[in-house]
């Protein structure tokens, strides 16, 4: 009886994947279009890639975006891990509800609101204490850390819940101090989760347009801001080339991260199996 539905589901899967991937595939194909008019095919060429690499504007934007993404991911991973530990392992403490709310809200908050309110904060701070004197790298990074840390905290929380507390309890019964338990047992076991969090925070930062456009200042263009200012006026073949490079880098990065995470998981499983065998 599932035969009929199964065929329907298979077709829906094919359709769904085609819907997700054909637009990106076309984006890549048209990046090799000789013609200046994106949708008109004029033969194969790599001239848009050459043009892209010669543009200092693009390089500056890429470097700024990468710098922001790395600093953001590092801070967000530290703060998000601390927040996740506090939420899962500290039992009840004063203000736990508020912390939970502040960690959940950025995940669903519309970007325009987050961007606007952070800009208002920066302007008010500038009035009161003279900092930040100018907006750019520092303000964008702070804005990104604020929403990225919430995503990291989600990953860490679910990882902590999944890990259970048996090993920690065992260590404590053997006389380890709570801080030692944290540094020697909890954090190493959390490492894969922290790595996943770091990568997520890194990509979220690279991807953000709306919040960055609110809190940036003159002259500080991140890559999304640069792309946006170009495509607002229509299709651009050089942006297709840029998109292709980004898709390629992401695909390679995700594949490598996936392989590393899978290997670590397998190793841990083997170790656990050995321990339980003994």
């Amino acid at each position: 009886m599932f035969q009929g539905r199964s065929r329907f589901l298979t077709w829906m899967l094919v359709l769904g994947m085609a819907f997700l991937y054909i637009p990106m595939l076309l984006l890549v194909i048209y990046s090799f279009n000789k013609s200046k008019l994106v949708p008109v095919w004029g033969g194969w060429s790599v001239r848009w890639y050459a043009e892209l690499f010669q543009s200092p504007e693009v390089w500056e934007a890429v470097m700024l975006s990468l710098k922001i993404a790395v600093v953001n991911a590092t801070f967000a991973t530290v703060l998000g891990t601390l927040a996740g530990l506090a939420m899962v392992r500290f039992g009840r403490f004063k203000g736990r509800m508020l912390l939970g709310g502040m960690l959940a809200a950025p995940l669903v908050m519309p970007e325009v609101i987050t961007g606007l309110s952070l800009l208002m904060l920066f302007i008010t701070m500038q009035d009161l204490i003279g900092w930040p004197a100018e907006r750019g790298f520092s303000t964008i990074t702070i804005a990104h850390i604020t929403f990225s840390l919430a995503y990291v905290a989600v990953i860490i929380q679910s990882r902590l819940v999944g890990m259970g507390e048996t090993l920690e309890e065992a260590a404590q019964d053997l006389g380890a101090k709570p801080f030692r338990v944290l540094t020697d047992i909890t954090l190493p076991r959390l490492a894969p989760g922290m790595m996943a969090g770091w990568l997520l925070a890194f990509t979220l930062s690279l991807d953000d347009l709306v919040i960055a456009s609110f809190v940036t200042g003159p002259g500080s263009n991140t890559l999304p801001i640069l792309i946006y200012s170009r495509i607002r006026l229509g299709l651009r073949p050089d942006i297709n080339a840029l998109a292709t490079i980004i898709i390629l880098v992401v695909a390679i990065g995700v594949a490598i991260a996936g392989i590393i995470l899978m290997r670590q998981q397998r190793q841990r499983d083997l170790e656990l199996a050995r321990i339980s065998d003994d």
Partner: protein, 323 residues
Amino acid sequence: MTDTTPGNPAAEADTSLQHPPLGVRISRKVQSSWKTVVVFLPYAWLLIFFLLPFVIVAKISVAEALIASPPFSSLIEWTDEGILTIRIVIDNFLYIFEDDLYVKTYLNSVKISTISTILCLLLGYPIAYGIVRSPPTTKNMLLFMIILPFWTSFLLRVYAWMGLLSDQGTINNMLISLGLIETPIRMLYTEFAVYVGIVYTYLPFMVLPLYANMEKLDNTLNEAAADLGAKPVSIFLTITLPLTMPGIIAGGLLVFIPATGEYVIPDLLGGGNVLMIGRLLFNEFHANHDWPVAAAVAIALLVLLVAPMMAYQHYQGKQAEAR
């Protein structure tokens, strides 16, 4: 399990009187206060950079627009007699509720995100179900393919549709060369394009919670119902659909909430023809420089989304407990 942290202050003062070496003192300090640090750092960060900004926006939304820098009046002022006065101007809210444009934009945003959410569900539900029913290796591959677009640029995914939908775009070119149409159909810069864009970018947000929910379903229920002679349609309606309701709600909220405040999609694919509140807010702020009205629009949008946001958080809490 015993709780050995944080030591009481009296005991701490006691140990410092004996003047142990600095390293030992520091490590003792760390031992007793690290939990406070763990909570304090993210807490302080979120209070300053997440909660405080909303208070400021709320404050500005009840201020008067001024031609100055910053372009709004201050809320609290000392009068000449040294009396503290608080001026609250609700004109900004009256203005956005009386102006037809704001009300229309508000309603149109809700309409567009509701319809998009339903479209995402109609497309995402069978996809999620299809993934659950696949053999394990294919399942992982398919899941990976659903997640992968997450990691590529959102902006460029929207841009891809500009190339497909424009007057000389891929779709129109194809239809013309097939002889189905003679003049291009206008698709880009219409509401239709906005629907396509939202469904395209938010589809994974619908599929993943649905998948997580469906994976836990017990297939024996379906088999039992089939053995007792239930038709596939009635099995679906009486067993599968009610059991997947939590997934539908989670996925629906994950699409509806961000879609309502969406800025990039209506701007790039809808052009000036599609009214949405996120785009209005952005323009009010960047083009018109009317900060108090932009702040009031933000507060109004927040009020609209508070109920679905709380519903989502409530649901997430229940999920966490269930684990």
